[in-house]
């Protein structure tokens, strides 16, 4: 999809509605957030507390990611926003509109064109580049919170690298179910030091975090925490030597673009249990179809003489 033109004229853009600053936040706040980001990059995986602001969208709806995005966005940036891997989900649309309106930056649905990608719950299928930044929206930044509700205690556990308790949780999974049953927000160890919540991405995406060329930033608005993974940093999903980490696998390819080894959404087609699996990354799927790839459903539709996705 082609780049959308800005609402204001990019370079001269200063405010919207004559009231708000470029990208909504005032410059003092942005500086404060950028200081927190620098600290986060310097200590990979460490949760930096920051004076999070109220945003004009509800807590839990991406306020952390939006504050990070607002603080790093410049007039030359091209923004992509996805939710569940797709650009057209309502919340992604809403956040994209927000920045298009308040910052006037061009927005895009193409992963390759974007310089900043704000995401909720997915990492794009295409490998990100060094000149890109991915910003994750994080609901619960503390990976240990489900095991230990007290902030005073979890901060000590991080400070002293006391992570045995998480291993106990994985041990319990295996002894009860024969495997580790965590499927999303699967905890990782960053740079061989801090345990970190990757946000609720499927564990399928965990390997993409390891040694990623792009800078990864994480913003938790309600919990007021920022953390980061610098480019090319070691990210290890927790496991046992004899029960190694395993990402999900899908048996069938995407029904529309025939992609294998990608994360798929299950789409219910009728109330008789007929369903199909399609790419969760809508941009990736569209590109593949444009290149002429055809999944089983798309082929079936083509043979019958009508389009698969319109």
């Amino acid at each position: 999809m082609s780049t959308l033109q800005p609402a204001g004229s990019g370079a001269q853009f200063h405010s919207i509605d004559g009231v708000y600053n470029f990208a909504y936040l005032d410059e003092q706040t942005k500086r404060m957030i950028r200081r927190a980001l620098l600290k986060a990059v310097a200590i990979p995986g460490y949760q930096v507390p920051f004076g999070g602001r109220e945003m004009p969208v509800a807590y839990g709806w991406g306020t952390g990611g939006m504050q990070v995005t607002a603080s790093i966005l410049g007039v030359d940036d091209v923004l992509k926003v996805i939710d569940q891997g797709a650009d057209d989900t309502t919340n992604a649309v809403s956040i994209r509109r927000f920045f298009n309106r308040t910052a006037g930056v061009p927005v895009t649905e193409a992963t390759t064109e974007a310089t900043v990608i704000q995401t909720r719950h997915r990492i794009p299928e295409k490998t990100l580049r060094e000149d890109q930044v991915i910003v994750y929206q994080v609901p619960m930044p503390e990976p240990l919170r489900k095991l230990e509700p007290r902030e005073t205690e979890t901060r000590k556990m991080h400070a002293f690298a006391e992570y045995g308790l998480m291993q106990v949780k994985l041990y319990e999974d295996i002894s009860r179910h024969g495997e580790i049953t965590t499927t999303y927000d699967y905890p990782v160890e960053v740079n061989a030091r801090y345990m970190m919540a990757p946000s609720p991405i499927p564990k399928f995406d965990n390997p993409k975090m390891h040694a990623m060329p792009a800078l990864q930033l994480f913003g938790a608005g309600r919990e007021k925490r920022i953390y980061a993974i610098p480019p090319y940093t070691k990210v290890r999903s927790l496991d046992f030597n004899d029960y190694p980490f395993e990402p999900q696998q899908f048996e069938d390819p995407c029904a529309l673009c025939d992609a294998k080894g990608v994360f798929l959404d299950e789409v219910i087609l009728d109330d008789k249990g007929d369903h199909m699996f399609v790419c969760s990354d809508s941009d990736h799927c569209r590109d593949r179809r444009a290149e002429g790839h055809m999944g089983p459903r798309a082929r079936e539709a083509a043979e019958k003489g009508y389009g698969a996705d319109e």
């Binding site: 005032d26 004076g51 109220e54 709806w61 939710d83 649309v93 509109r97 509700p149 902030e151």
Partner: protein, 363 residues
């Protein structure tokens, strides 16, 4: 044939048009003006100003109108506006001892200097629906001229303090600039400034319920409503350029000082302890709940057993904010189908292997 869900943009715009229509209601009924809300729905305005932490009755009234009377939504609107305002600095502490009193009661003393001033209160109304209000054009009876309360009205806590009967209220050691909840993340353990700011903005219902639970034994601390006072106080600010305080204006506040069970030890004379509540406007329920919870949260400081939720600082302060709470609860409405898909894959796999094992066992 499968059609991908598209058109989020159009759906959002349609939804906005629908709420605008809903908000207006029947066009045959005159539109509500923000000024009417400000003047006639003072209870709602005061709550929105307090929990929205912005003293501006006009903006609060606008927020209430825009939110169709949904106060938590209105509080959110006010907060989101407030956060864009520049910050000049901290005012001087308001002096509630110098308050121009409209209402002042003490449950601890029958009479006291300055006397009891009942003022406007629903306390002794009979809660009977007043159908005369349903008829249009009703004019209220002329209220008696309120006594000019020139009489000195020392605070009950200060009166007790002269005798050393209540613990002194001294600023905690540390930097003079108070902690600012709107600029800094919460930290635990929290100082009293952080705690009181959090409770001030905290949800009235949450504090009411927690305060109530302390009365029923979940962190009991034997409270007396030492004093509740309501009226206007001056806000003063010292601009750096001037070096002396100037009055910015007056605000209406309600203050509650709870006097609680005494504390002492061998060789240390026992004293009453305090819990403190403050809110913008007339907000007695809020300030009393706040004062009960403030006192309960001092369990550690006063070497009391910390057994119940109202005594648990991390529990109370982390969950009191209704903008945060409603945001996170409502975010469950956002799509979670990637996570759900991950769980489906796992569940199907586990069920398949369980069935295989059962089959094996049966053979």
């Amino acid at each position: 044939m499968y059609v991908a869900t598209k058109g989020g943009e159009a759906a959002i715009e349609n939804s906005h048009a629908l709420i605008a229509e809903e908000r207006r209601g029947d066009p045959a009924v005159p539109e509500l003006e923000a000024a009417q809300i400000r003047e006639q729905l003072g209870g709602a305005v005061d709550r929105v100003m307090t929990e929205g932490s912005l003293y501006d009755p006009d903006l609060a009234a606008l927020a209430i109108k825009q939110a169709q009377g949904d106060l938590v939504e209105a509080i959110f609107l006010l907060r989101a506006f407030r956060t864009t305002l520049p910050r000049f600095g901290a005012s001087a502490p308001i002096d509630t001892g110098a308050m121009t009193i409209r209402r002042r009661i003490s449950a601890a003393f029958k009479d006291l200097p300055g006397g009891q001033v009942l003022g406007p209160t629903y306390d002794y109304t009979h809660r009977l629906l007043d159908f005369t209000l349903a008829a249009r054009g009703e004019t209220p009876p002329v209220a008696p001229e309120e006594d000019a309360t020139d009489a000195a009205m020392p605070r009950v806590a200060d009166i007790l303090g002269h005798e050393g009967l209540i613990e002194p209220e001294t600023p905690p050691p540390g930097p003079e600039q108070p902690y600012d909840l709107t600029r800094e993340p919460m930290q635990f353990p929290a100082g009293r400034d952080q705690r009181l700011q959090n409770l001030f903005r905290g949800d009235e219902g949450f504090l009411l319920a927690l305060g109530y639970s302390t009365q029923r034994g979940y962190g009991r601390n034997h409270p007396f409503a030492g004093e509740i006072r309501m009226g206007t106080v001056q806000v003063e600010f010292t601009p750096e350029e001037l070096g002396f305080p100037i009055a910015l204006g007056e605000i209406e506040v309600t203050e509650c000082q709870m006097v609680n069970q005494f504390k002492g030890a061998k060789g240390i004379a026992p004293q009453f302890t305090r819990g403190y509540g403050l809110a913008f406007g007339q907000a007695e329920r809020k300030t009393m709940g706040m004062a009960l919870v403030d006192r309960a949260l001092r369990a550690d400081e006063l070497a009391e057993d910390r057994l119940h939720p109202p005594q648990d600082e991390e529990f109370v302060l982390s969950h009191s904010d209704n903008v945060e709470a409603s945001g996170f609860v409502s975010h469950l409405k956002l799509p979670h189908y990637v996570d759900f898909q991950s769980e489906l894959v796992m569940l199907r796999g586990m069920r398949a292997s369980a069935e295989a094992m059962q089959k094996e066992a049966a053979e």
